[in-house]
Symmetry: C2
């Protein structure tokens, strides 16, 4: 099942994708739907999928967790050591944009070092704390696509990544979530990105150092994960910062992120 | 003016402290009061201040930003270099507790390395983006006390602090906010902490490497700051991890954090 959040009638609304239509579900977004535990399979009014205006899949997650250095080839290209534990940082709600929204580049006097990072993103469906592996998997509602756009000079100006990961309006998430009954533990999915049609990243989620169950088990030792929390699981090799010479996103460039079994998230960059 | 958030009648409510009473303001918390721009000086029902059950001052901030390595003596004791830019990391809503709540120590098989960090905490009062210094100061509603309790082994297991800073129920914030008409730019305030009555940290906010205006100006280059956002500005020297031998918070120990012009935040630790 594919669930989405669209902008509709001056607000946002959750929906279920049914062929070439969206069945409207009376919740403000997929996060709200998950928090109240509503049945997403019920009927309702429909609108055409074509021309839908996607909002961020979860408009106001309680937590946005990102996992860094989680694919071997990206660890090597960034000059880091293989991890002994998952590396977590976060973003803020204002970083998130919808699936067709432009990526808001910072003014050029603030940074021109903007980079792409395609990531498989977990959506939590029920509260979970001190999870066993089975409980961790059961707490996952589904998966979406996350482009962890990174302002590299701000990411690297101190030891902590947050500054470079939190620029407003930079992080597309969507266009929809595919539920775990179709994607299981999210392993074995081809994952890739391209810029202006040229492939930049190409890997498979089986290459994750810490898989989705590892991550949820570990995070749930720290805090309760809540419905609507999103966890971006890390990016494979091929980012712009690691290229010779480095390659950045500039006004008009189009970044496309594709994950097998989910779909494609494509956004133009705008100054 | 002192504004607070209390647990009352099965929910939370904002209030204004008036002598030995709290004037109840009909908003769910100080964050809600700031977001709607309500007048906090108006009248209302009162309850006694004594025995009030304090909630986290902002129950669900859109952003919790923490500044690391921001006092020279703490930078030296942690073996870090003086910063050229503010170091930011974050916490999650579930980390926050009220002014009299116990600090929830993690189970001992997860960590026993729990440490204290008294911090001056900014509360944002109005949206601000790309702020000048004057706009930054005008965007600050007031200041509160923040104990950035840190699980040091989890903070240090990877390059990113988030894991060790986000343990559920570990971070007292309150008991109230003092508005900027009384505290101005928050400089020149004595700041200290004690554990079981023994002073551990003692400094002054004039020792901040990046002051509150610097921080708001810089953060607002990244994203819009919103009413109810809280920004903990860093801790002075004297934390437990830097002592010989290291000293940790254990069941029953009492941490007290005091900032001149605001008050005291005192919490017992509980396993």
């Amino acid at each position: 099942m594919k669930l989405t959040t669209i902008r509709y009638d001056g607000a946002t609304m959750a929906g279920r994708i049914d062929g070439d239509e969206i069945v409207l579900l009376d919740h403000a977004d997929v996060g709200d739907l998950l928090r109240v535990g509503a049945d997403p399979s019920r009927g309702g009014r429909t609108i055409p999928l074509a021309g839908a205006n996607f909002a961020p899949l979860i408009t106001a997650p309680d937590k946005i967790v990102c996992v860094g250095v989680n694919y071997a080839d990206h660890i090597a290209e960034m000059g880091r050591q293989p991890p002994t534990a998952p590396t977590y940082f976060s973003k803020f709600r204002r970083s998130l944009i919808g699936a067709d929204d432009p990526i808001a580049l910072p003014p050029v006097d603030i940074s021109t070092h903007v980079d792409w990072e395609v990531e498989l993103c977990i959506v939590i469906g029920r509260p979970v704390r001190h999870a066993t592996p089975a409980e961790a998997l059961a707490a996952i509602a589904g998966y979406t696509i996350f482009n962890d756009v990174s302002v590299r000079d701000w990411q690297r100006r101190t030891s902590q990544f947050l500054a470079g990961k939190s620029f407003e309006g930079t992080t597309p998430v969507g266009p929809w979530m595919v539920t775990t009954d179709e994607l299981g533990d999210g392993s074995g999915l081809a994952i890739s990105s391209s810029v202006d049609g040229v492939i930049k990243q190409s890997s498979n989620t089986r290459e994750l150092e810490f898989d989705v169950v590892d991550i949820v088990v570990d995070l749930s030792k720290i805090t309760t994960l809540d419905p609507g929390d999103i966890i971006a699981t890390g990016t494979p090799g091929g980012v712009g910062a690691a290229r010779t010479p480095p390659e950045w996103l500039t006004d008009g460039r189009v970044v496309s992120c594709t994950i097998e079994g989910i779909g494609t998230l494509e956004n133009v960059c705008r100054l």
